[in-house]
Symmetry: C2
Subunit: 331 residues, 2 copies
C-alpha cells in the first residue's frame, strides 16, 4: 500500500508538498503539481482516510440513526441521505435502534468513538426527554420527530396539519365513527393525533376511540381486531404510520370486511403496496427525498458553522386520495 512518502519520493518533493497538491492548495508550482499527480497515478496512491482523520480531527463520515430500517419511510430517508452525503464525499454509517433507548445510547456512543462529523437522528420519545441533558460535541440534526429541547436543527413534517387533512378528508367523505391508531414511540403519533382531534372537533364529532400502540404491523393487526370486537364498530380507521396501516389492512381482510363500504382506512407514507392493494390506500405521502436531503444539508451547514442558530424546517405532506376512503355510499 503506497503512502504519501512513496509519492513524495517518486515526485522528488516533500510529503508536505504532496499533501498540498492533494488538498488543492494553490501555493504550489504548476510543474510540481504535475510531477506529484503523475507519481500519484503511477503508484495508484489513495490517501489513508484514517490517518487524515486522526491528524485533522475530522472525518468525512456521518451517522444516520433510524428507529427501523424496515419501515419504508426510513428506507427512503436513508437512501436520500446516502445520496446527498456521497455527493459531498461523505459516507454514511447506518444504525438501527428498533425504538430501543438503550440501543440509541449505544449507537450514539459508537458514532462518537468513530469520530463522525455529524449525526442525523430520529430519537425515541424517551430519548427526546433526555436530549436536553445529552450535550454532544457532535453536530446533529433531528428528523421526523420533534424534540422539546429546541436547540437542535430539525426537519419535520407538519404532522398536525397532515393529521387534520386526512381526518377532514374522511369526514367530508361521509365517515363519522372514526377510530385512530397512533404510534406511541415518538411525537409523530401524538402530533398526528392532535390534528385528528382538531378535525373531529371542528366538525363537531367525537372520536370513537384512540389507541396509542407500538408502531408494528402485529400491533396494528391485533388492535384492529380488538376494535371489531367492540359493540360500536368504527366506519373508518385512521393509522398514523404505514406499519399500522398494514396491520389494520390485514385485520380487515381476515374479518372479510369490505373497504371502504364496511370500514374505510387511511394512513401515512407512500409504500410499494399502498397502490397495489384493492382498494388502494388513501394516505399522506411524505417528501422523503426532500426530508433526507434537507437534513443532510442542514447537517453540513452546522458542521461548517457549529454556532449558527438552530433552524427547524417543516415540510408539508401531500394527501393522495384513493379508493380506501371513497365517498360513503348512502345507506
Amino acid at each position: 500500500m503506497p503512502s504519501i512518502k512513496d509519492v513524495a519520493q517518486i515526485a522528488g518533493v516533500s510529503t508536505a508538498t504532496v499533501s498540498r497538491v492533494l488538498a488543492g492548495s494553490d501555493r504550489v508550482k504548476e510543474e510540481t503539481r504535475r510531477r506529484v499527480l503523475n507519481a500519484v497515478k503511477e503508484l495508484n496512491y489513495r490517501p489513508n482516510l484514517v490517518a487524515r482523520s486522526l491528524r485533522s480531527q475530522k472525518s468525512a463520515r456521518i451517522g444516520l440513526v433510524v428507529s427501523d430500517i424496515r419501515n419504508p419511510f426510513f428506507t427512503a430517508i436513508s437512501r436520500a441521505v446516502e445520496d446527498a452525503a456521497y455527493e459531498q464525499g461523505y459516507s454514511v454509517l447506518l444504525c438501527n435502534t428498533d425504538e430501543d433507548p438503550a440501543r440509541e445510547e449505544l449507537y450514539l456512543n459508537i458514532l462518537h468513538d468513530e469520530s463522525v462529523a455529524g449525526i442525523i437522528f430520529s430519537p425515541t420519545q424517551q430519548f427526546s426527554a433526555r436530549l436536553s441533558t445529552f450535550k454532544s460535541d457532535i453536530p446533529f440534526v433531528i428528523i421526523d420527530r420533534a424534540v422539546n429541547a429546541a436547540q437542535a436543527d430539525m426537519v419535520l413534517l407538519d404532522n398536525v396539519a397532515a393529521g387534520y387533512e386526512l381526518t377532514a378528508h374522511l369526514i367530508q367523505n361521509g365517515y363519522t365513527k372514526l377510530a385512530g391508531l397512533f404510534g406511541n414511540a415518538s411525537t409523530t403519533g401524538r402530533d398526528r393525533n392532535k390534528g385528528f382531534r382538531k378535525a373531529l372537533e371542528d366538525f363537531q364529532l367525537k372520536p370513537l376511540t384512540e389507541q396509542f400502540i407500538p408502531p408494528r404491523i402485529q400491533q396494528g393487526y391485533e388492535t384492529t381486531l380488538m376494535l371489531f370486537d367492540q359493540p360500536n364498530r368504527p366506519d373508518a380507521i385512521f393509522t398514523s404510520n404505514s406499519l399500522l396501516t398494514a396491520g389494520a389492512f390485514q385485520a380487515i381482510r381476515d374479518r372479510r370486511l369490505k373497504v371502504p363500504d364496511d370500514v374505510a382506512l387511511v394512513g401515512f407514507d407512500e409504500t410499494t403496496w399502498g397502490a397495489l392493494v384493492d382498494p388502494p390506500i388513501t394516505l399522506i405521502a411524505q417528501p422523503t427525498e426532500e426530508i433526507g436531503r434537507t437534513a443532510t444539508e442542514l447537517l453540513f451547514q452546522r458542521i461548517e458553522e457549529p454556532s449558527r442558530s438552530p433552524r427547524t424546517v417543516i415540510l408539508k405532506g401531500k394527501l393522495i386520495a384513493r379508493g380506501s376512503s371513497a365517498p360513503r355510499a348512502n345507506k
Copy 2:
C-alpha cells in the same frame, strides 16, 4: 476529550499499561488494573477508534454494498448484517450501488480508503466478470449472486432449485402458457430462469416468452403490459424478484384482469404487501435473516484467518403457496 495520557496520569502509570488493561492483557497486576479502571471511569474515557485503527492497521467497521436498499430483500439483509455485526462490536457502512458498476467501483474504493475490515457485497453482473481481476487485500463475502471467480466466500440461495419449484408449482396447478420476467442485473435472474426452463422441459412444455429486464417496478409494469398486447396471452407470469412482481401486479390490475383466473402470478421474496394484496402472492421466501447472519459470520472468519479456503453456503428458499397461483379452474 480525555485521552489515554490523561488516564495514565491520573492512574499514575504509563500509557502502555493503560492500553494493556484496556486490551485485557493478563500481564498486569490486579491493583494496577483497578487503578486504571477507576481513572477510566472517573474521566469517562473512551478510546479514540481512529487512532487505534491507524496504529493497529485494522478497524471494527465492515462495508455492506447492496444494489438497491429499497428492495425489501436487501433491506432485510442489511438489517440482519447490522445486527450480527454489532453483536461483534462492529459497525456497518452501507452503500447503495443502484446496479451501477461505476458506483460499485466508487464505493469499493471508498471502503478501502476507510480501512474497513471486510466487505459484504452483491455485485452486478458486469462487476462479477471483473471480480477475478479485482484483487483486493480486503476480505469480502459475496451474497445473493454467484460469481465465477470462485475464490470468494459466497452465501447464495439455491436459485435454480427455487425457480424449478416455483415453476413446477404453477404447472401442477394447471397453468401451461408461462411467461417469465427475469432481472438482468445479476446471475440471480439467470439461475432462476434455468430452473424455470428445466421445469418446463421436465413437464414437456415450452415457455411462452422469457424477458430479461432491469429489476425495477416500472420495467416489470411495462413488460407485462406488452405481454398482454401479444396475440398469445400467458396464463401465468413468473417474476424473478419482488420489484418485477409489483410491476406485473400493477399491470394486471390496470388491465382489469383477474388473478389467478385470467393470469396467475408468482415471484420471489416475502414483502409486506405480498400477503396483503388480493389474492395474496405465491412466492419463494428467502431466509434473509440467515443469509445476512451467515455472510457476516463468514466474513469474520475470513478476517480472522485470511488464507482459509473459500466456502460457499447455499440456502434453500421456501415456497409459500397462496391465492395468486390457485389451482386453475377447468375451462
